[in-house]
């Protein structure tokens, strides 16, 4: 009897387990099916192309492994929410119907609501697309899995430290605080996303300075290079980069046009130590010389006319320091944000004039954490930054930057060029809008996936970069 019961129990357990696994896999794959039916419905080639990019075994496997590790997917989190009936793939929010959507303020940032009715950067509508399942690289997942749950702590300066007291960003490749309990932990999880890849190469990035009449004032074309200098997992040199000890990330900018600033090159190195300011050097072609700039001044625009300051690189790059800033987890929520489909198409649909969005903007529902970075020094350009961090990418879906009068000054929204088969991220487009003065910097990026293996450390040596045109 006992043996019979045990057999029955084991058989049932096995069946239930198999069913659960099958259901999980089905649930994991449902987002791809959603995209298939959505693409068929819209008939737009870019949507079909995105389906082609995600509908393969590699994507399914990688998505599943991350879902298993996290214990959730974007879809599963959304499934727990009671969403408005209209808020589903295919629905288009327009100037005509927005007043009949009482829920819209709960999901759509005010900046985008205003675009439907404003003459400044106007759009025709916002199309809801199926929610994707995003993830980072497998090697990053493996490195994260290898960590103990309490591997990291945050010290009195706000630095990420490991159990041995070493800088956590340098000693480990894994992501910290996958389930953040407070704003500081979330901030470090956001920092750990970095640029979503070990190496980044924009060839080129177009940065357009646009005025309130949506006219182009200036446009800068540049190369941007970025290299993770510690905890590298996917591209050689793996681990920490020799010669860049103590440095977490390095960025380089080489302006290609306009002619009068062509050749301007900048290299910025970020140290793990909170007390060590960035090493920042600029090669100025009109001097034919390299100049050191202070790493303490990240509040200036990268170039005249732009709303993009040095601190806003990858949406938020000012240095973590709990003595100067307070990091507060505000809430978990759902937000409508641009899908990271830049590998196939630009959901912002930036027009050829560089200062307008040509039609319908695609957005998807994303589960996020919202945290605030509050300036304690009362000297920073923003009194508060509000960052909506995606629960799958660990990167910002949307930012609001509040001036010292308490008014929203700038917003950041972007579209990542996410490579579904590998989980690597670069960028496709971004808008940094100055809502106070009705100006915008609109960015279009051509991410050079095929040139990543040509990047060398010499790019981050200003004397070598200056001669690279």
């Amino acid at each position: 009897m006992k043996i019979y019961k045990l057999k029955t129990f084991l058989t049932n357990l096995t069946l239930v387990s198999l069913c659960l696994i099958a259901l999980t896999i089905k649930a994991s794959d449902e987002w791809i099916d959603n995209w298939k039916s959505f693409a068929a419905e819209t008939g737009l080639p870019e949507h079909a192309a995105w389906v082609a990019a995600i509908d393969n075994a590699e994507v399914r496997a990688l998505a599943k492994d991350w879902a298993d590790f996290r214990g959730y997917t974007a879809s599963s989190l959304l499934a727990k929410e009671t969403l408005p009936a209209e808020l589903k793939p295919g629905f288009i929010i327009t100037k005509e119907n927005i007043d009949s959507l009482p829920w819209v303020n709960d999901y759509l940032p005010q900046y985008w609501i205003d675009r439907l009715t404003s003459e400044w950067t106007p759009i025709k509508g916002i199309r809801i697309v199926p929610t994707n399942h995003y993830y980072m690289q497998r090697a990053r997942l493996d490195a994260t899995k290898a960590l103990e749950p309490d591997h990291f702590r945050i010290n009195e300066k706000g630095e990420l430290r490991d159990k041995n007291g070493e800088h956590g960003f340098i000693s480990e490749a894994g992501l910290p605080f996958i389930n953040p309990q407070n704003g500081e932990e979330l901030n470090w999880l956001f920092n750990a996303h970095g640029v979503g890849t070990d190496d980044l190469y924009f060839d080129t990035i177009d940065m357009a300075a646009c005025n309130s009449e949506n006219n182009l004032e200036r446009i800068y074309k540049a190369n941007i290079f970025w290299r993770r200098m510690a905890g590298r997992v996917s591209a050689p040199p793996l681990g920490n980069v020799e010669g860049f000890e103590g440095i977490t990330e390095a960025g380089a900018l080489l302006i290609k046009s306009p002619r009068d600033v062509r050749g301007l090159a900048g290299v910025r190195l970020r140290f793990a130590d909170a007390d060590k300011d960035d090493d920042f050097k600029l090669y100025i072609p009109s001097l034919r010389r390299t100049r050191a700039l202070t790493g303490t001044n990240g509040q200036d625009p990268i170039a005249p006319g732009l709303e993009l300051t040095w601190d806003e690189w990858r949406s938020n790059w000012f240095k973590t320091d709990r003595r100067k800033f307070k990091y507060t987890l505000i809430k978990e929520g759902i937000i409508l944000a641009g899908p990271e489909v830049g590998n196939v198409y630009d959901p912002l649909r930036i027009s050829d004039d560089a200062c307008n969005l040509s039609g319908i903007v695609d957005m998807e529902l994303r589960p996020t954490w919202l945290y605030e970075i509050t300036d304690l020094t009362e000297t920073y350009q923003y009194s508060v930054k509000r960052v909506h961090v995606d629960k799958e990418t660990y990167y910002a879906q949307y930012l609001e930057m509040v001036d010292r009068n308490g008014d929203i000054w700038r917003i950041w929204d972007d579209t990542r060029d996410w490579e579904p088969t590998t989980g690597r991220f670069m960028w496709r487009s971004a808008i940094i809008a100055n809502v106070r003065d009705e100006r915008a910097t609109i960015i279009t990026v051509d991410s050079a996936w095929d040139k990543l293996d040509t990047m060398t450390n010499s790019i981050f040596n200003i004397d070598q970069l200056r001669d690279r045109r």
């Binding site: 200036r218 001097l287 034919r288 010389r289 050191a292 509040q299 625009p301 006319g305 010499s458 001669d467």
Partner: protein, 622 residues
């Protein structure tokens, strides 16, 4: 025989230069035409700039003429076929329509006025800088400056860059070959270690943009990263260039004009009496080292130190500015104004004879001193034996006479300099409303045996006596030129200024401050720069510079100011620019104002005291 050798050498040099120009032009044409056909990584751009303006503080206040009217056409191309090779080509054609439009109005000081004994001959003639002289008293002098209307020598003035750079795969070593410029050091405006390239001072003197003022040279630059923060740069320059400038010279057989930015013709002063030296002109010849047979070598080691970046530099080359050396003279019998065409005889004088005519007892200097002492009498004028008119007794008859001294502007002196530079973000010092740190810039250069003209020389005829001022330029090179070590130091700070009262300041005001001290050992009785005989060298020559850059109207208007104080000579220069942006920054209108202040010939800045200007320019870039 000597003449034949000189002729052959000159022909060879001319042919070599022509060959260089032809080869450069061919390569450039090939470069501009061939790569676009198949190259993805090809860039082509350029600009067209035209300006017009007014000189607002003229020597002759009543005159109204044209101001700076410079124009520029520049074409640039770059090609990077792969990560290991970069090719750059850049040609520009520059000029100034001032010389054509001014109608002879702009005046510059000329020779001492021989008709003004009541002023101790300190009164001077003036010269037109935009039309040739009439050679008729009372206003005989002028030079059209036509040669500066268009700077069109292909190799020297049009070809701005033609270079190819090779680098290894990891970028740790590179070689760049071709014609280009390279900047060293940390100092702006004044050059301590930024000495690899000479300067073109003809168009806007030191107020031009740094990259536009440097004269590119055929160069080989090798860069090697020895480790992550140690790098070595080796520079080899087989084509030696010196700085380009024009002295506004009224002397009829060597007249030249650089307009408002020409160096003024120097005061000719007998230093012991303070009397002007009338009837003297100057013919100037450039004595240069030979291209491709002489060379300059530079070495720079860059490394991290004390939390910043340091360099050690060494340079072995040639001086960019000349010493002045007497090579002879011509006595013009028949002209007071050094006009050989109006003279009945032009008597060449060799160096010893010229020295004798100036310094020997009873000759020119002696005569001036007796005039100053009130002991001169009719018949003492030293040129009477040549049939010349006695300026103390014109009624006695004779020819009007004058003397033109021949000088080499000698650019063949060596420049031997070592130095170091250092720059560091002073992150320990945070101040201002946004707690921003200044950036420190330090630079020290030690130049060995820098050549100077003497301001005082031993009297060649009477031991124990000396000659001072302009007469010190009349001697042998051994008498006139001496060598001193010079140590130049810069300390400068850059700072991003945020104003606490301006709550919504969009961008910082970028300011730089620099203090220079140039110490010259045994400085007494040296000329700061010949032929300005009355301009002496300070033991510690000090300058202070201040700049600011600031964007208004969302950076559609950029203001930038540059102020330079010569603390030792009490002179001053200021440049203010208002730069606008239009048509998507393709069209760049600019208003530029330049002001100079100082006493006559009191320092470099004071040389331009009559050259204040306002210029409006339009640049179209593509």
């Amino acid at each position: 025989m000597n003449n034949i050798i000189i002729k052959i050498t000159l022909e060879t040099k001319t042919r070599l230069k022509r060959l260089t120009s032809i080869v450069s032009a061919s390569l450039l044409s090939l470069f501009l035409v061939a790569p676009p056909a198949y190259a993805e990584d090809f860039w082509f751009g350029g600009r067209l700039k035209a300006g017009t303006g007014a000189y607002i503080d003229r020597l002759d206040d009543s005159s109204r003429g044209q101001g700076p009217s410079q124009f520029l056409l520049e074409l640039q191309a770059e090609w990077s076929p792969n990560n290991n090779v970069t090719v750059v080509g850049d040609v520009w054609l520059r000029g100034d329509r001032f010389y054509d439009l001014d109608d002879g109005e702009f005046r510059a000081p000329a020779m001492q006025n021989f008709t003004s004994p009541q002023s101790a001959f300190l009164d001077r003639f003036s010269m037109s800088t935009s039309s040739d002289g009439t050679y008729q008293l009372p206003d005989p002098f002028g030079a059209s400056g036509k040669e500066n209307e268009l700077l069109d020598d292909f190799d020297d003035e049009i070809l701005r860059e033609l270079s190819i750079r090779f680098t290894n795969d990891d970028g740790s070593a590179s070689v760049k070959i071709g014609k280009f410029q390279r900047g060293w050091g940390q100092a702006d405006g004044l050059r301590l270690l930024d000495i690899l390239n000479a300067q073109d001072l003809r168009q806007r003197t030191l107020l031009a943009d740094t990259d536009e003022i440097r004269i590119p040279a055929w160069t080989v630059a090798i860069n090697v990263d020895i480790s992550n923060d140690v790098a070595l740069e080796l520079i080899y320059i087989p084509e030696v260039r010196h700085s380009e400038f024009v002295i506004n010279n009224p002397t009829p057989n060597d007249q030249s004009s650089g307009g408002a930015f020409g160096f003024p013709f120097p005061r000719l002063i007998e230093g012991q009496t303070g009397f002007g030296m009338p009837l003297l002109g100057a013919r100037l010849n450039e004595k240069e080292v030979e291209d491709w047979k002489n060379q300059e070598i530079g070495l720079r080691l860059k490394f991290g130190a004390f939390g910043g970046e340091a360099t050690l530099n060494a340079f072995h080359g040639y001086q960019d500015l000349p010493v002045v050396v007497l090579t002879g003279a011509t006595l013009h019998v028949g002209s007071f104004i050094n006009d050989p065409a109006a003279s009945v005889a032009n008597v060449p004088l060799d160096v010893p004879t010229t020295i004798g005519a100036i310094h020997a007892p009873g000759q020119y200097v002696d005569f001036l001193q007796s005039l100053a002492g009130g002991t001169a009498a009719p018949g003492d004028f030293p040129l009477i034996p040549f049939g010349c008119l006695d300026i103390l007794n014109p009624a006695a008859g004779g020819f009007p006479c004058s003397v033109t001294a021949d000088f080499d502007m000698d650019f063949t002196e060596r420049q031997k300099t070592v130095g170091f530079s250092f720059t560091r973000d002073m992150s320990e010092l945070k101040f201002g409303p946004k707690s921003v740190s200044p950036v420190l810039r330090l630079e020290v250069a030690h130049e060995f045996d820098k050549a100077f003209n003497r301001q005082v020389i031993n009297d060649p005829f009477i031991p124990g006596l000396s000659a001072k001022g302009t007469p010190a330029l009349i001697g042998t090179k051994a008498d006139m030129v001496t060598y001193r070590d010079q140590i130049s130091t810069l300390i400068g700070f850059d700072y991003n200024l945020w104003l606490s009262a301006w709550k919504n300041q969009r961008s910082s005001i970028f300011i730089t401050s620099q203090f220079f001290n140039i110490k010259t050992k045994d400085h007494k009785n040296l000329m700061f720069q010949a032929p300005y005989a009355m301009l002496d060298v300070e033991e510690n020559q000090q300058y202070f510079t201040q700049t600011y850059t600031f964007g208004l109207r969302n950076d559609n208007v950029i203001l930038d100011g540059l102020a330079v104080w010569d603390l030792s000579k009490d002179s001053f220069a200021y440049r203010q620019r208002f730069t606008f942006s239009a048509l998507g920054n393709k069209l760049i209108p600019r208003i530029e104002v330049g002001i100079f202040d100082g006493d006559e010939e009191e320092g470099l800045l004071a040389l331009y005291r009559q050259s204040d200007y306002v210029e409006f320019s339009l640049t179209y870039q593509f």
